[in-house]
Amino acid sequence: MEPRQTQRAGTNQRAGTIPRPLLVFAIVGLAFLILPIIGLFWRVDWAELPAAITSPEAVQALWLSLRTGVTATIICLVLGIPLALLIARSRPRIAGILRALTTLPLVLPPLVGGIALLYLLGRNGLIGSVLDVGFGFGIPFTTAAVVIAQAFVAMPFLVITLEGSLRTAGTQYETVAATLGASRWTVFRRITVPLAMPGLLAGTVLCFARAIGEFGATALFAGNAAGVTRTMPLAIYTAFNGAGVSQDSAIALSLLLIVVAIVILLFLRTWRTDVAL
């Protein structure tokens, strides 16, 4: 038997270009990621589920999560895309340092991240004290604090992912665009960003997912006030702490979060096929 490949006639795709043994690893990897989640579904108390996920508190927390998650993602895009570009276009030495600095918030346990944010923006913080004394307003324990905490923990993912893609895409098309008279801004908008789109979308996905999953920093920096700062993860935590050992409603809420996330990620996918090369 000759080795074969299956593919659609006339297309240029070489489907199944993955070495076969690697396919096994890929499937193990995927199973590793989704089996625990399937385990969650398996344990869920389906009778209680509808009540848990339609309770006003759950809906409120979900809505807050989505609002803050989207806002944080937008902030990350606005600040993170330029930062990624800066790193990708710096000399190797400088890029290495910038990359390491960008990655630091990742290393911090979220709790410490929350402390760090409090130290910076809290009433006695470096900047917070100025805001407090000068303008009489405080950031912690507001919805804004949730967004800041989410952006702080999620932005590194966007930056590092996008930077990898920008570096892989290279600068040759940017150079061509410049010789055609395109300003840096035009090059950025019409060449750099579209060509790095796969990486940008991957980064956005990671960033959004990390933002709506954020718990530790939010809990400390923003607090856990229903309707103001109690996002889904905090609601899940509260449910987990509150309901004894059964965790049923915590799991129900987690499933709600997962389902909403899937819908959003699949929507991003659709958008992606439209804009991708």
């Binding site: 912690p140 809990a219 400390l220 607090g223 006030a225 004894g244 050992v245």
Partner: protein
Amino acid sequence: STEDPDLAESTPLATGVSGELTIFAAASLTASFDELAEAFTAENPKVTVHPIVYDGSSTLATQLIEGASADVFAAANESTMADVAGAGELSGDSSIFVTNTLQIAIAPDNPEKITGLTDLTRDGLLVVLCAPEVPCGAASQELLDLDGIPLTPASEEQNVKGVLTKVGAGEADAGLVYKTDVSAAAGAVDGVDIEGAERAINNYTIGVAASAENPEAAQAFVDFVLSDAGQKLLGSFGFGSP
């Protein structure tokens, strides 16, 4: 806030306080404080109690010190409250309002037939404790030391919940937790009383925060917690009176 005069008259304990009330309470108070708040508003209908913020006592204390505004703070121990007071975030004194004693949490029906602390050292038995740094861990260690029981836990959990989850999920065979936690677990775990548990009592403290925007209502709530009605209600969750 309701203006219904009938309701106001029908509550003899009404103190006449009004306004909004924000309460920070230790996570282990979750179910009990929800009921307390309900009873309190029934007596003080002009007071709106915001959903109570539950978290670890340390977390809440940090937030208070860093500018969170709350009216009442209920901590699961004395030292955290002392830190808050030390930072000038407490108005007046704090009071011990309940105590809590340890129990051995075991799987329902006690498959390992555990009857006391000495059983925990049995070979092959997986026991989890709270970390000695956190209040329930400190109490556990104290009790074990007093009895001279050399116990190596499989894990030192960050909080009571960790111990309960592991015992409830069957990962651990036993763990030391508060009595109130066992009763809140509603059948997922059973509790075995410890002889001489009262030697390591944990004191819960409550006080009015310095940043309180509604100190009158805050004080009214603290008073309510310390009142017979409040104590009775807390007792029904397994707490002991100080």
